[in-house]
């Protein structure tokens, strides 16, 4: 494999890629907790924070280890304990900010947060049972021999090629399984338990245990608050489930209609006093809760607000019902 990649890179150089595009160092060990190893053509070496990661290397974490690799194209790959990842290919042209990469997850779990390569040429993640084409996105992937591969798409699109053909994961939060006991599952929305299990699988056991305890405490507190709010007649999490589609397009709430997006704004107002806590002041507070980039467009108010009357107001030939009859003249109901 190493030789093939080498050969392909040489071909790319011959085809006109700049020399900068081909570099042995593809990234850096951005975080290591507590140990991880890399093995390339030579002997295995222990990775420390700041260690170079080379293409063709096999990255291995032990039962207590986790690793984040920061690639030169700004891709990050967080690799959980008991995992093994091979960097098969990495081509990146700093001038054009384009390239491609490929890696193989032999076992364990990883989270891929895309950089320039996944936005341009694309990134390929392989496991023993599938090949995933990641386009501009964020994905969680887990593989073990018995269970097969589970992949969750968080952002962007992922083509999932397996023995049963190719499937596109195109919606955020959707997951599917390939091979092993995971075969044939999905695409379907990933469960909360699965998202939790991925979070745990990507952290060292000590951190994962703490996270799990925090999660339980947070949810218990939220449930208690919701129950208390329900008893007091205040919006609870469960009762505040108004249409997300409507909320995304608050333009539907132009004159004459209440804006359903205001709920998000109110949530932001409640948090107003907390804004000083934000690490990143450039990120808008919740009142600007944005439309997700993959947002499905909402109904435009059922196409119109036109009541049956249409031009009813104009139909009364005694001229007496005009003002009251023309409620439906123009979809936004301004004249109510």
């Amino acid at each position: 494999m190493y030789g093939m990649v080498r050969a392909s890179l040489l071909v790319l150089v011959a085809a006109g890629f700049s020399a900068a595009a081909v570099a042995e160092t593809v990234g850096t060990a951005g975080a290591v907790s507590p140990t991880a190893k890399a093995r390339g053509a030579g002997a295995a070496r222990v990775l420390n924070v700041g260690s170079s990661v080379l293409y063709g290397e096999t990255l291995t974490t032990g039962p207590n280890g986790a690793l984040q690799v920061l690639f030169v194209d700004r891709t990050t790959m967080t690799i959980g304990p008991n995992s093994q990842v091979v960097i098969d290919e990495f081509v990146f042209d700093r001038v054009s900010n384009s390239g491609r990469m490929a890696a193989t997850l032999t076992r364990g779990a990883l989270r891929f947060v895309g950089g320039q390569t996944s936005h341009t040429g694309g990134a390929t993640l392989r496991t023993p049972v599938t090949t995933l084409g990641v386009r501009g996105g964020v994905a969680s992937v887990r593989h073990d021999g018995a269970s097969g591969t589970r992949v969750v798409n968080h952002f962007g699109r992922i083509s999932v090629a397996g023995p049963e053909g190719e499937t596109m994961l195109r919606r955020s939060g959707f997951a599917m399984g390939v091979g092993g006991t995971a075969a044939g599952s999905g695409p379907a929305r990933s469960t909360r338990a699965e998202v939790d299990s991925f979070a745990d699988a990507l952290a060292p056991p000590r951190v994962a245990a703490k996270m799990s305890a925090q999660r339980s405490a947070t949810r218990a507190a939220a449930q208690a608050a919701a129950a208390q709010a329900d008893a007091a007649g205040v919006t609870s999490i469960q009762s505040a489930n108004a249409s997300s589609a409507a909320a995304r397009h608050s333009v539907a709430g132009m004159p004459g209609q209440a804006s359903p997006s205001r709920q998000a704004g109110d949530a932001g107002s409640r948090a107003g006093a907390a804004r000083q806590a934000a690490l990143l002041p450039s990120i808008a507070p919740p009142e600007a809760f944005p439309a997700p980039p993959q947002a499905f467009p909402p109904a435009p108010g059922g196409g119109s607000g036109s009541a049956s009357g249409g031009n009813n107001g104009n139909n009364g030939n005694n001229g007496n019902n005009g003002n009251n009859g023309n409620h439906g003249n123009h979809g936004k109901g301004h004249n109510r």
Partner: protein, 441 residues
């Protein structure tokens, strides 16, 4: 050649849609240079948490949320109790629409050890995320209150009108009369996510309005309309975000607390996101039945189909300015030619949201304007056998939406409607002011 043109059009539309999908990353050369320089330093010193935080902030400012997330996930791997970093990771996942991961990050930022301010902010996001991840969502918005109209009976501006082709004066009882009414209006909306990859949904909406006049009881008016239909993604890969919604509708109108008209029909709309703009063309057909009564013995002359084609375009302009424009053309068929007509017109408006610091709320001021030209097929012999009716109506107004709590608010709308007509019987003007509490959930 034709195929190439279609292919080119499809590619252009796809490019526009794709642009709408991905968070825009700034092309500002200075920002990019700063970003590249900082990234080079991060590559050399990934353990420097302060540097990674600075890099994440810059990446977020550029709109490169993935890079920001990567930087902060590196920080929390080394410093699991960096609550502010968890909070920022959650916010950036929200920006990408990765709500499940955002929820995980906010739950971590809500740990009891985290500062109260961080927990409060995370809690606000968690509430909204839970709401958005529900497969079935209900929403309601409504208002009740009082409305004053300067010309509640829609009387002509001049007492001189036409009857049977002759000039005549209206009796005093038919002149313009101001009046108040008490009104209630509401819209209940349901969206059920079919939980497939296409993002298809079932949507239903029930809208109602009723006004009870203080003096002119014969003009008490009520309208109810319901529609139901699926919203289906068109071609998620080639045209992401495009959808079509066919729907059935039914409606009824009362006047003077008696049935005035009812209709059944169907419609279809398209939703086409093009960058920051949403374009929604559509068509509706209503089969209308008007009820004859002693006060309106010829109402059934208006029975027939009503066809309405429209295009709504909407978008957002920073800061906090939303806008919409709507063009439409309609054709009202009728049993009698004198009641059949064609109309075309437009409505447009902007909504400007501004913070009211003393209340901790955001109010919205929304001016709007509309115009309709209506042309009837034939003269009405009862009015003027030689002159066809043509109306040009202008509408101008402004509304203020002032929330005072999560659910309650106050709304005021002021509107002027001026209708010019080839027949003085229909030339009229009305000023209305409506106000009252609002409720939404």
């Amino acid at each position: 050649m034709r195929h190439r043109l279609w292919f080119g059009l499809a590619m252009w539309l796809a490019a526009g849609s794709a642009a709408a999908q991905l968070a825009p990353i700034s092309d500002d050369p200075q920002l990019r240079a700063d970003h590249d320089a900082l990234f080079a330093r991060v590559l050399k010193a990934p353990a420097d948490a302060a540097l990674s935080r600075r890099y994440a902030e810059l990446a977020a400012r550029m709109g490169d949320f993935e890079a920001g997330i990567g930087a902060l996930e590196r920080v929390v791997l080394a410093h699991p109790d960096d609550w502010a970093a968890h909070l920022a990771i959650g916010e950036m996942y929200v920006r990408l629409g990765a709500l499940e991961l955002a929820r995980s990050a906010f739950e971590r930022a809500s740990a009891v050890e985290a500062p109260e301010a961080t927990r409060a902010r995370a809690a606000a996001f968690l509430i909204e995320i839970e709401r958005r991840l529900q497969p079935t969502g209900w929403s309601f918005s409504g208002q009740t209150g009082l409305r004053w109209q300067s010309n509640a009976n829609a009387a002509p501006s001049s007492p001189l009108v036409r009857a049977l082709g002759f000039d005549t004066s209206l009796p005093n009882t038919s002149l313009r009369k101001p009046d108040w009414n008490a009104f209630v209006q509401g819209s209940l909306r349901l969206v059920h996510d079919l939980e497939n990859q296409r993002g298809d949904t079932i949507e239903a909406q029930l809208t109602g309005y009723y006004a009870r006049q203080f003096r002119l009881a014969s003009l008490n008016a009520g309208v109810v309309e319901a529609n139901l239909g699926p919203r289906l993604a068109l071609e998620p890969d080639l045209l992401p975000g495009w959808s079509v919604r066919p729907y059935l509708l039914a409606s009824g109108v009362t006047l003077g607390d008696a049935p005035f008209a009812h209709a059944v029909g169907a419609g279809v709309t398209l939703a086409i996101p093009l960058g920051a703009i949403l374009v929604e063309p559509g068509y509706e057909m209503h089969r209308r039945i008007f009820h004859t009564s002693s006060g309106m013995p010829t109402a059934a002359e208006s029975n027939g189909r009503w066809h309405n084609g429209f295009v709504t375009v909407s978008g957002t302009l920073p800061p906090g300015l939303r806008w919409f424009a709507r063009l439409q053309a309609s054709r009202a068929e009728a049993r009698a030619d004198r009641q059949a007509h064609r109309a075309h017109g437009f409505d447009a408006g902007v909504a400007y949201g501004f913070a009211v610091p003393s209340l901790g709320r955001k109010w919205t001021l929304a001016p709007f304007v509309g115009w309709t030209h209506t042309r009837y097929d034939a003269p009405d012999p009862l009015v003027d056998p030689l002159r066809r009716r043509r109306d040009r109506e202008w509408r101008l107004g402004v509304s203020l939406d002032a929330p005072v709590s999560d659910r309650l608010g106050f709304g005021i709308t002021v509107q002027l409607v001026n209708n010019r007509s080839t027949l003085p019987n229909y030339a009229r003007r009305n000023v209305s002011v409506s106000f009252g509490p609002t409720l939404r959930f």
